[in-house]
């Protein structure tokens, strides 16, 4: 049984924006300096709190996109139309801006580089973010655990981290605008490898995760090997 035991109060910490970089037209990676950051495991997330000058505050959860690196923390945020927090983070935030973060949070949807694999990652849209933290942790640690990634996105312009996906055995499925031999369409059982005792991590919108969980069982995967992270219809 592999899990990460976290047992302590998680205070709000001041985060300062170090830099930002675009991933797609609607998503940015935000690199933060968080003095006192306690470190984290690939797959965990943070709560972000924005507070307006009048005291109104709003909170959202975002996955950590990269392994722990001292006080340096990376999030990738996709803008949700009509959202309250994400449009600010994606469109307006600048280096040296500050907000609060709390974490790391969640010890169940995690992967440690000491685990030998094999690992199957299945991402829907921005669900790639915590899975990319696992891919990056594997590279950082020099792990040779076999990793297979199946990544479903609308079209080629929606792919995050394109240059790094070659690190692992990655297949991109396009649901709306396809390039390559596969026709555009939603994920099917044929898009997923059959069971081979892999630990499976599935992250995406709730409907995607539900569908993939059923397809994995159809492909012979054991429910006990499947870990899921659903981020709901709107991250806000």
């Amino acid at each position: 049984m592999t899990e990460t035991v976290v047992r302590r109060r998680t205070p709000w910490l001041a985060a300062t924006v170090h830099s930002v970089r675009s991933e797609t037209s609607v998503a940015r990676t935000i690199v933060l300096d968080v003095p006192g950051w306690p470190g984290h495991v690939a797959g965990q997330h943070v709560d972000v709190k924005l507070t307006a000058p009048d005291g109104y505050s709003a909170q959202r959860s975002y996955s950590l996109a990269a392994p722990a690196d001292g006080d340096r923390v990376e999030l990738t945020v996709q803008r949700v139309e009509d959202g309250e927090v994400s449009p600010y983070l994606v469109d307006e935030l600048l280096p040296t801006d500050q907000f609060e973060v709390r974490g790391p949070i969640g010890g169940w949807f995690t992967w440690h580089a000491t685990e030998p694999g094999p690992v199957l990652l299945v991402a829907g849209g921005s669900g790639i973010v915590p899975l990319m933290a696992m891919v990056r942790e594997r590279a950082r640690a020099g792990s040779e655990a076999p990793f297979t990634l199946v990544y479903s996105v609308r079209g080629p312009s929606d792919v995050y981290y394109a240059s790094e996906l070659a690190e692992v055995d990655a297949t991109i499925l396009y649901t709306r605008t396809a390039i390559g031999p596969r026709r555009a369409g939603r994920i099917t059982a044929a898009d997923l490898p059959a069971a081979a005792d892999a630990r499976v991590y599935v992250c995406g919108p709730t409907g995607f995760v539900e569908t993939v969980s059923d397809l994995l069982l159809e492909r012979g995967h054991d429910a006990a090997n499947i870990r899921t992270e659903r981020f709901g219809p709107s991250g806000g």
């Binding site: 035991v5 409907g207 995760v209």
Partner: protein, 86 residues
């Protein structure tokens, strides 16, 4: 629409000082036990509700006010929390 237990981890950690996602929560309704991370969380109301992934009974509710966190666990028969190695 629900999310999973991971999405409620922050508010529970704030109240309890532990990561609840790895805890095993047993449903008082149907008796199914599972990781809190796998429960179904509804967070669009004034509080957060976690429901059993098997029977959809309410397992836990938490509401945060400016000064307190109110936790209602009546839907859970037990909550088993892993402890770190000594």
């Amino acid at each position: 629409m629900f999310i999973d237990g991971n999405g409620a981890a922050g508010v529970f950690a704030e109240a309890l000082g532990v990561d609840i996602t790895t805890a095993v929560i047993t449903c008082a309704g149907c008796g199914a036990g599972g990781r809190f991370a796998e429960s179904h969380v509804y967070d669009h109301g004034p509080g957060v509700v976690a429901r059993c992934a098997t029977c959809e009974s309410v397992l836990a509710r938490i509401v945060r006010t400016p000064t307190d966190a109110w936790l209602d666990l009546r839907g859970a028969r037990s909550l088993r929390i892993p402890l770190p190695a000594e």
